[in-house]
Subunit: 165 residues, 2 copies
Amino acid sequence: MPCPIARSLERVGEWWSILILRDAFYGLTRFDEFQRNLGVAPNILTRRLNALVASGLLERRRYQDRPARYEYVLTERGRDFHPVLLALLAWGNKHFAPEGAVIQIARADTGLTVDPVVVDRASGERLAGPNFRVVPGPAASEAVRARLAARGDRPFRRDAEAPAT
Amino acid sequence: MPCPIARSLERVGEWWSILILRDAFYGLTRFDEFQRNLGVAPNILTRRLNALVASGLLERRRYQDRPARYEYVLTERGRDFHPVLLALLAWGNKHFAPEGAVIQIARADTGLTVDPVVVDRASGERLAGPNFRVVPGPAASEAVRARLAARGDRPFRRDAEAPAT
């Protein structure tokens, strides 16, 4: 599928993979650490770790020889998944934590809680509202260009109904 | 599960749901539009749409009486999922588009391509590096607090290995 969102989802695989990546950002690296923290069946964990290695998100490294033992470390591609986790965390805290946040992000220097938002890197402007739209990239096929053109002025918008906040 | 990422994933359900939400941001609202664009089996689409309605991400609205026909419109909760899609799009374009981007976000006024990044809303600073960490929220249980304390100084970092860029 040419859509970059679809391609991303193909690589991540499924929910267990995202939770494994989350734990890797927490600093977990070993099979038994992931298993204990996730409470996942070993055969599922093995399959998901192998898939994440195959997709280039984790690197498998031998850290002991006899017996051979391996750890799983985030690659650059895996580390670049971090913004997705931050966006999921912010969304979960806003909508699925009626009793208040259980986990949040804070600044280390001030201790102030952080509200993660997605912005345009160059302007710092929030990516919301009609000022931003989906356009074909340099590798877009004629079919993709035609499809986007047919959509006319529809922006890729979070304010499908309401004004941006 | 108390983790806000896990809670988010429970609500989204699976990949089809994310692609349905993506299409809803593109402006699609009707069953046959989703079906055509996604190439998904009708029974799967029905199940996913119903789950998204049950989770409060889409609202089902009758738009015709005889025969009764319904459309599916993003709720506020559904619209707030937008940053997750933007983060997935940026990650897919960076890592899984070797031939160049097929789809990207651009500013409507200048036409310039946008690089979506996640920042701290208050300071505008990118959420990367040791300056940001995971902390217990107001609703954290003693167990969560103990677990985070045991992790010591491990930040929730994208730079698990390399310096932040």
